[in-house]
Symmetry: C2
Subunit: 204 residues, 2 copies
DNA sequence: AAGTAGGTGTACAGATCTGTTTCATCGTCA
DNA sequence: TGACGATGAAACAGATCTGTACACCTACTT
């Protein structure tokens, strides 16, 4: 195994364990055992456990982008369908047997310091997710795409934690989708600020 | 201090520390120091730290009922206004300087076992909250009060975690309230299943 | 006034956790 | 081939954590 491989493998292993057991409850030795890597190697790549946690949070950002967002984009070409597809993809995510909620929400629960690097990464991720939704909303003929995006983001976050508490055995994704449909429909009925609206929008 | 006082004081101290620092990161000694109680006393009232955690989660249920729900009920007599007041009270909660999110959501992030007592308490609390919202929705002339309640609950949960990540410095409560207003309005436009609807409803 | 339940304080045991160190080994590139 | 950086295995150090043991104190009840 090459050098970078081990580093990435360590991060991947850490992500899965942090998701499943939390950050403080996951010991270094547990990560090393599961990764099949020696402690020397870990401390060669990371100066401390906190640095590994930070690396895990940063990498998960990219993983989420490549999985969740790509899946949404693959389900439709149209912005309206993509917005709703968000909740279908989320539903698939929740019903996986190894669903343990959002890595970032869990991290904030354990590291609540006011201005830590961990919090910053979590906020950046949240902004990224909201921006993804906002970009889709901007393609719809709605007066306030940012507001709509923030509302949909709240629904998604709420669906995530609700599914987490009930171990994905409820229908929070479906409920969120129903609510999202209503919110989008309502936003479309509001008057637009300008005449030249709907840039390349595709409404069903 | 009497016997029960110490027990309750221990639980209260534990709640505030669990909220602020998390469960695993909060040591027994930290709780004892802050509470000004000896270790012997703690283990006289609780057999283990886990039992103290469980007691804290169970007590927080009652605290939340007496604070959050009573505040909502105090803001209006009408079900519609009360539903919206939920998000005003939530906004006040988020902007407190010692806001650290929801004790239960944080607990599930650290104790993700499939059928633990901790998870059960969290699910019961979630059901209680949803039931509170549902009872208000049932007083409105809407076709599916349960669905509406679940949608509003998702908004609330989403607002909580969003405020937690950004340390209450955003407007997630206001966004949730806007979305809630739209969802309630939309639910009211749907046809009712029966003629004799609206049992004791009071619509503005 | 005395007994007793509950409490304090401290020391301790045993486990676990992070991080370091030592020494041997492996792989790769010059 | 030889050198060097990366890795493994394991012991170790120091800190921290949960939970227990022991001796003594306090406050309330009878």
């Amino acid at each position: 195994m090459a050098r970078l491989d081990r580093r990435e493998h360590l991060i991947d292993t850490a992500i899965s364990l942090f998701l499943c057991n939390g950050y403080h409850a996951t010991g270094i030795d547990t990560i090393l055992d599961k990764a099949g890597v020696s402690k020397k190697t870990l401390y060669h790549h990371f100066r401390s456990k906190d640095e590994l946690i930070l690396a895990a949070l940063k990498k998960y950002d990219g993983i989420f982008r490549n999985n969740f967002m790509r899946q949404v984009e693959a389900r439709s070409e149209q912005p309206y369908e993509r917005l709703l597809a968000i909740f279908d993809v989320a539903g698939d995510w929740f019903s996986q047997n190894n669903f343990y909620g959002c890595l970032y929400i869990n991290a904030i629960g354990e590291f609540s310091g006011p201005d830590t690097a961990i919090r910053q990464v979590c906020m950046e991720f949240k902004a990224l997710l909201c921006r993804f939704i906002e970009d889709l909303c901007r393609e719809l003929p709605v007066a306030e795409p940012l507001t709509l995006a923030q509302e949909l983001a709240l629904l998604l976050e709420g669906a995530i934690v609700t599914a987490q508490v009930s171990q994905g055995k409820n229908h929070s994704a479906k409920i969120a989708k129903t609510a999202a449909t209503a919110l989008i429909a309502q936003a479309r009925t509001l008057p637009l600020p300008d005449a030249d609206q709907a840039v390349g929008s595709s409404q069903p």
